[in-house]
């Protein structure tokens, strides 16, 4: 359970996630994807979601289903919107993009409209953007900060070749232009949300 520190505005420039966004163009072309990999969409991951703070700890189990990875042309549209129109335009473009998967937590389901994967030395790095916030971590504290503008959620998974991995999530996020990579992810969460025991389901 997260309580008090939600009142603290925390802007997080998540460089790695931002890079994933930028990588979207580069790795989107077939020539950059390299040889076909055994593990790709459609695929499903299970994960344990954990938030820890001085006030307590919360855990939940989520299922992430990626039906397909976002086409380069759709990535281009969203990146252009972000660059030219900022956060608001990005959200509009995101919500117009095709649904490529879902995140399920409890009895709730959230639509993924941005899904990218990039090969790494040990497996893959997968980035996902949801077209709505999943949860406002710290939003239950009296006097919690405004939720305005936190219209998306961003997930990053680091998977090894055997289908195991870890990750992190901005459960309510604002995607903004800026920073070294051109993309900033500002998370509402006052504490980082970690994804542990991430496992690719065997189909």
């Amino acid at each position: 359970m997260h309580v008090h520190s939600a009142c603290v505005q925390r802007r997080i420039a998540r460089g790695v996630t931002a890079m994933i966004v930028v990588w979207g163009v580069a790795v989107g072309h077939p020539s950059a994807q390299g040889k076909p990999r055994k593990q790709t969409a459609p695929e499903t991951f299970s994960a344990r979601l954990s938030v820890g703070a001085q006030e307590g700890r919360g855990d939940a189990y989520v299922t992430i289903r990626v039906d397909r990875y976002t086409a380069p042309k759709d990535i281009d549209v969203m990146e252009k919107a972000l660059k030219e129109g900022g956060s608001a335009a990005f959200v509009v473009a995101l919500k117009r993009a095709p649904i490529v998967g879902h995140i399920e937590a409890g009895n709730k389901s959230f639509s993924i409209r941005w899904a990218r994967e990039k090969p790494s030395d040990t497996g893959r790095v997968i980035s996902l953007v949801v077209d709505s916030p999943v949860y406002f971590v710290g939003g239950g504290v009296p006097g919690a900060k405004s939720r305005e503008g936190f219209d998306t959620a961003v997930v990053q998974l680091t998977m090894d070749s055997s289908g195991l991995g870890e990750g992190r999530m901005a459960a309510a996020a604002k995607v903004k232009p800026g920073g070294a990579t051109g993309v900033d992810i500002e998370a509402y969460d006052a504490e980082p949300v970690k994804l542990t025991s991430v496992k690719r389901q065997i189909s």
């Binding site: 309580v3 008090h4 006030e55 919360g58 855990d59 189990y61 409890g106 939003g139 239950g140 009296p142």
Partner: protein, 193 residues
């Protein structure tokens, strides 16, 4: 909306109890307790440590005034009266500390049943959900627990609640989330701790 009546029973019991009922040979205020709070939802659960400090228990006269405010003016009058009541302790979760304005104890078996109320909410459980309902009107927090003669026990807590007159006992506690926080492994701190 789920309505909790556990604490209500204590409130009512305290009203009808004779003034001497608070005079006990058991340990009394000032005293403090630690508890582990747990709540489970559809997708998972959360746990937190809670510290309750009681400097003194509410007198019968002050309690009667609060009960009368609730009976005559409902939740709004009750909250107003509670805020005017003296601070007699604190309920702390992490860095967040909220003043206790009402505390009662009642003998039960070989131990005690203790209830405390704050004049502001401690936490809106589940309010981080995208489709969470409004928090307005849930202006107090109520915790209730039992401890045995050794100071160990369990209980429950409504971290954001609305108090209403009504129901079989005359008092209803409606908590924001509809799910109570279980207080497990409640323990009375040794003096000086």
């Amino acid at each position: 909306m789920p309505v909790r009546t556990l604490t209500a029973a204590l409130i009512v019991a305290a009203v009808v109890a004779a003034p001497g009922a608070q005079s006990m040979t058991r340990p009394g205020a000032p005293e403090s307790f630690r508890a582990n709070g747990q709540i489970l939802g559809a997708a998972g659960g959360a746990a937190t440590a809670i510290h309750i400090q009681i400097d003194k228990y509410t007198s019968d006269a002050d309690h009667a005034a609060l009960a009368d405010a609730l009976k005559q003016g409902g939740n709004e009058a009750f909250v107003a009266a509670l805020r005017k009541a003296p601070k007699i302790g604190s309920l702390k979760v992490g860095n967040r500390s909220v003043a206790i304005h009402w505390a009662r104890e009642q003998a039960q078996g070989g131990g005690r049943r203790i209830a405390v109320a704050t004049a502001e909410p401690v936490f809106f459980a589940g309010a981080g959900a995208v489709d969470a309902k409004p928090t307005a009107g849930y202006d107090v927090a109520v915790a209730e627990f039992t401890v045995d003669s050794t100071g160990l026990g369990k209980g429950s807590m409504a971290p954001a609640a609305k108090v209403k007159a009504g129901g079989p006992t005359g008092v209803e506690i409606e908590d924001y989330s509809g799910k109570k926080i279980e207080l497990v492994t409640v323990s009375r701190n040794l003096p000086g701790k």
